[in-house]
């Protein structure tokens, strides 16, 4: 009986270790969460923005799709709506960035009557083929960028912008 008795010293050390353990866990858990969360989030696709366009409505003809989100630069909340030129190529949905790779104007599809099947930049006459490839001899030096695309409940979602993957 007396062998099993817990001395005051043992009792204290057990309880303190226990409490200390909880305290350490209490501190470490949130730290771990903060450290890991961003990684988890990007896997969850937090950067994709759902548009109002149905995947089924997308055809081979590029259309302008609005991308609405709030962007906060310093103290100024900007309401600039981004756009994408969206079309179907085979079974693949393509969303090109409208930002001209020359000096950054917005390009338009087919607005140059002599080249109705190209993207046209009215600033300095830059032209791009449908896949975004810049036409040699016009000012732009690279192809149009591309959005990552995803389907969400039948609607088109657009993700981060990356370099053009269609132009080989």
């Amino acid at each position: 009986m007396s062998n099993n008795r817990v001395s005051r010293r043992q009792f204290l050390s057990y309880t303190l270790t226990g409490v200390g353990g909880f305290m350490a866990a209490g501190m470490l858990m949130p730290m771990l969460r903060f450290a890991i969360d961003p990684v988890l989030q990007s896997h969850a696709g937090g950067n994709f923005i759902k548009t109002e366009h149905k995947i089924a409505d997308i055809t081979e003809k590029p259309v302008k799709v609005d991308l609405k989100f709030e962007q906060v630069d310093a103290w100024y909340k900007s309401e600039v709506t981004n756009v994408a030129w969206v079309f179907k190529q085979g079974d693949q949905i393509v969303a090109l960035s409208p930002v001209c790779k020359h000096l950054g104007c917005m390009v338009d599809w087919g607005s140059d009557s002599t080249h109705p099947d190209q993207f046209f930049c009215s600033c300095h006459g830059g032209r791009y083929e449908k896949n975004g490839n810049n036409v040699k001899g016009t000012p732009p030096l690279g192809p149009l960028d591309e959005y990552e695309v995803k389907e969400e409940d039948g609607y088109l979602s657009l993700g981060p912008i990356r370099a053009n993957t269609l132009v080989k």
Binding site: V80, H102, L103, S122, C123
Partner: protein, 149 residues
């Protein structure tokens, strides 16, 4: 391009491409009856000019707004500013405003006058389509000048 260090650097390097300056002329009216309207005008003008900037970033430099109140308005300001902008290398200079005062000098400098549309009560989608409509009014004025070279 905006009037900030990095965009101005691009302008310096690409003067043959960035050949146009846009100057918003904002009128600040501080009388109790007109102050709110004045706020609407400023808001509209700044939203519209930054929208224009987004569309034509590679062709134009949007200057910070030049503001004046009733007693400070001076027809010489745009004229002198235009001369200085030409000296700085801009082929085309446009003033854009909601105040009729400046249309008086429309003969001498390029003044684009637009009625202010109150944007404050609109949601983003409506606002954007309004701005797009207004942009469509402005584009022909820019492109006629651009076509003249």
């Amino acid at each position: 391009m905006y009037f900030n260090a990095s965009d101005v650097t691009s302008f310096m390097a690409q003067k043959e491409f960035i050949d146009t300056a846009i100057v918003p002329l904002v009128s600040v009216d501080l009388t109790p009856e007109k102050m709110k309207q004045s706020g609407t005008e400023a808001d509209f003008l700044l939203s519209l000019t930054s929208f224009i900037e987004q569309q034509f970033k590679g062709r134009l430099l949007l200057m910070p707004p030049f503001s004046s109140s009733a007693t400070l308005k001076n027809e010489d300001l745009p004229k002198q500013l235009e001369a200085q902008l030409h000296n700085a290398g801009f082929k085309h200079v446009f003033f854009i405003t909601c105040d009729h005062f400046w249309t008086n000098i429309g003969e001498e400098v390029n003044v684009i006058w637009l009625p202010a549309i109150p944007l404050e009560s609109m949601d983003r989608g409506v606002k954007n389509s309004i701005l797009e409509d207004q942009l469509r009014q402005v584009i022909p004025m820019l492109s006629t000048k651009w076509a003249q070279i």
